[in-house]
């Protein structure tokens, strides 16, 4: 490596370390926002012990000091609805997101590392999922198997994992070619050990990114299913609130405070998970961290590109 390239590379390492200590404003905001929603969701029973849907005043009462976001069609506090709804939305998001990443991560890791027929099969399966429209399939499945919460989670995970599998697979394929992975094999290390000690740590940031993105998407899909009336109506979620406000005339009543908060909540959570996911991805993807002088990193990026 030339002197200049080395110095720049080291400078980059240092910069990266620094960003780890002081996250960017966007990242800090995203993490804080998700934290606020999570704390709110956990605190909902304490703050509003009557549960969701408890009538506290006249339908569509405007926002006031007592009820910051006003009341909905049933006279329930929108803040209470929002926090109780966050419990379901975030639960579905986290569970479906984690399930997506576990399914996709295992499939991607195994197929990328071993290659062969399993990889060929996985690629055909993911091709299949990529060409079929996800939402109509969700509608059909929900119609066939019912609208219980657990069904919603499983449906979202089953339809989302192939995307994750594809990304993880290409990363695992790149890492497999690294010299130190081959050296470990030559040393006599088993596949399991090589996967866990050398491949997984390199793929982990990508799994983190996938998890963040999958959670965001799961929340969005859940809302979509709710809006279409294909979910459990006995529980409140943000999607349910939007669906209700449409069905029960919030728009004709010009009760923007009923419609806007859940929509904004979904949008902000999706934005936050995307920002966090991208940040994770930047750490893994060498192409996003290429310096014009870092010939070595440029070569690595080119090699990674070739392998993927």
């Amino acid at each position: 490596m030339s002197a200049a390239a080395e110095v720049l590379a080291r400078g980059r390492r240092r910069t990266r370390r620094r960003t780890r200590r002081l996250p960017s404003p966007g990242l800090a905001f995203s993490v804080a926002l998700l934290g606020v929603f999570a704390v709110g969701a956990l605190a909902a029973p304490a703050l509003f012990p009557d549960g969701s849907g408890a009538q506290v005043g006249a339908p569509y009462a405007t926002p006031s000091g007592a009820h910051l976001l006003g009341l909905d069609d049933a006279g329930a506090d929108v803040v209470a609805e929002l926090l109780w709804g966050a419990r379901v939305s975030l639960l579905v998001g986290v569970l479906a997101g984690v399930m997506t990443v576990i399914l996709g991560g295992v499939a991607g890791l195994v197929s990328g590392y071993f290659g062969g027929w399993f990889e060929a099969l996985l690629m055909r399966v993911t091709d299949f999922f990529l060409v079929i429209p996800v939402l109509p399939v969700m509608i059909v499945v929900a119609a066939l198997y019912g609208t219980r919460l657990v069904n919603t989670i499983v449906i979202i995970a089953l339809l989302s994992w192939p995307g994750t599998a594809r990304v993880v697979r290409s990363q695992a394929k790149t890492v497999r070619q690294r010299l130190y992975v081959r050296r470990a094999r030559a040393m006599g290390a088993s596949h399991g050990r090589t996967l866990v000690h050398h491949v997984l740590p390199q793929v982990a940031p990508l799994l983190g990114a996938s998890t963040a993105l999958a959670i965001g998407h799961a929340i969005f899909f859940e809302a979509a299913l709710r809006f279409l009336g294909l979910a459990d109506r006995n529980t409140t979620s943000w999607g349910q609130m939007i669906a209700d406000s449409f069905e029960r005339g919030a728009i004709t009543a010009e009760a923007w405070w009923v419609l806007l908060p859940p929509g904004l909540a979904i949008g902000l959570v999706l934005l936050s998970t995307t920002v966090i996911g991208r940040r994770f991805e930047q750490r893994t993807n060498p192409r996003l961290a290429v310096s014009h002088l870092g010939l070595r990193s440029f070569r690595r990026a080119a090699a990674a590109k070739e392998a993927s």
């Binding site: 130190y180 081959r182 094999r185 030559a186 040393m187 006599g188 740590p201």
Partner: protein, 355 residues
């Protein structure tokens, strides 16, 4: 496992990548305490031979015997045991070590893989001993460092330590110094010589014929997947018989060369390994080729009548022809004398670099 079997015996090895014959009928034997240098340009099959020897590439044919046991035919636990006694050292130490592993992680990994000891203290003792043997002084202070904190020479020594921590019988080193700074090379090469003296069989892959000659007990020259010449380094360097070996030697940069003489250059490119020419595969570039070279694929055969004197072997029919002529008493115009004097093949420059 017989007692007098060589530490590593590669026999009639074939490695194919699709239609490309990367290694074609290569045999190399290395005994304990012997350092064999495999020399040739990139694509000549030297690295593929090494990868097959450590089990990373499946050969299409042939055997790789470690202490008499064939690695190719062995499976499961026995194969892992066999891999323990043959270790690889890679060309680029920057890429060969996991950037997330500390020096201690790197060197203790083989011990964990082969479950050598369950005691952490014992493991650390072995790691420190291996690092010190690899020439890292006060190894204790290096244990917690990461690869990016070390120089190229130190990194390569760490890689060597992790290769010798299992006390292997065979080391395969793939261009171990070509990525290092000039001032670091001699030290690392000296280390290999010391390990050889300690009884380890070493295969060193290199494209540097001069360095190879200095540290090796035997030199194997490869071209387009074949061994073309093999012998003691002093013999190969002073009287190379194969035109390719001669071209290799002539191409070594030589500051003493007069500025007025043209640099001797071998024309052309190595052949396409998927479509090898008939006969000798060096013929298209060989200035000394005769008609028969286009039809006869030369075998590696002892050079010189007194074949017992050393194991100088060469795959060139012109050398064979010369030998049979002198052997049958006909004092013909031998193109290449087989008795150790310099050959006069037109591919070399008139001003030979060999003293």
């Amino acid at each position: 496992m017989s007692e007098d079997a060589p530490a590593l015996a590669i026999d009639r090895l074939d490695v194919r990548y699709g239609a490309r014959k990367a290694v074609d009928d290569v045999s190399v034997t290395v005994r304990g305490g012997e350092l064999v240098a495999v020399v040739g340009e990139s694509g000549c099959g030297k690295t593929s031979t090494a990868m097959a020897a450590v089990g990373l590439v499946r050969p299409a044919a042939g055997s790789i015997r470690v202490n008499g046991v064939d690695l190719v035919a062995t499976r499961g636990r026995r194969r892992r045991e066999l891999l323990r006694s043959i270790q690889l050292i890679c060309q680029d130490p920057y890429e060969a070590l996991d950037p997330r592993f500390t020096v201690e992680d790197v060197v203790s990994e083989p011990l964990l893989v082969h479950r050598v000891t369950t005691s952490g203290a014992e493991r650390r003792r072995l790691v420190v001993a291996a690092l010190e043997r690899a020439g890292i002084p006060s190894a204790d202070s290096y244990l917690g460092r990461y690869p990016h904190q070390l120089s190229g020479g130190q990194l390569q020594r760490v890689a060597i330590a992790s290769a010798i921590v299992l006390e292997p019988e065979v080391l395969i080193a793939d261009e171990p110094v070509s990525m290092l700074d000039v001032s670091m090379r001699a030290g690392v090469l000296r280390l290999f010589a010391d390990l050889r003296d300690a009884g380890i069989a070493i295969v060193m892959i290199t494209h540097d014929l001069i360095t190879a000659a200095q540290y090796a007990d035997r030199v194997v020259v490869m071209y387009a997947g074949r061994v073309v010449e093999e012998g003691r380094p002093d013999v190969v360097l002073s009287s190379p018989l194969h035109p390719y070996t001669q071209a290799l030697l002539a191409a070594v940069p030589d500051p003493e060369r007069s500025r007025d003489t043209a640099r001797p250059a071998l024309p052309g490119e190595p052949p396409d390994l998927a479509a090898l020419p008939p006969g000798c595969r060096f013929r298209p570039r060989c200035a000394a080729a005769i008609d028969a070279c286009a039809t006869i694929d030369p075998e590696l055969a002892p050079a010189g009548q007194r074949a017992s004197r050393d194991l100088h072997r060469v795959a060139c029919i012109r050398v064979e022809a010369a030998r049979s002529e002198t052997a049958s008493g006909r004092a013909g115009a031998a193109p290449a004398e087989a008795d150790g004097t310099r050959p006069r093949l037109p591919v070399r420059s008139t001003e030979g670099p060999v003293s």
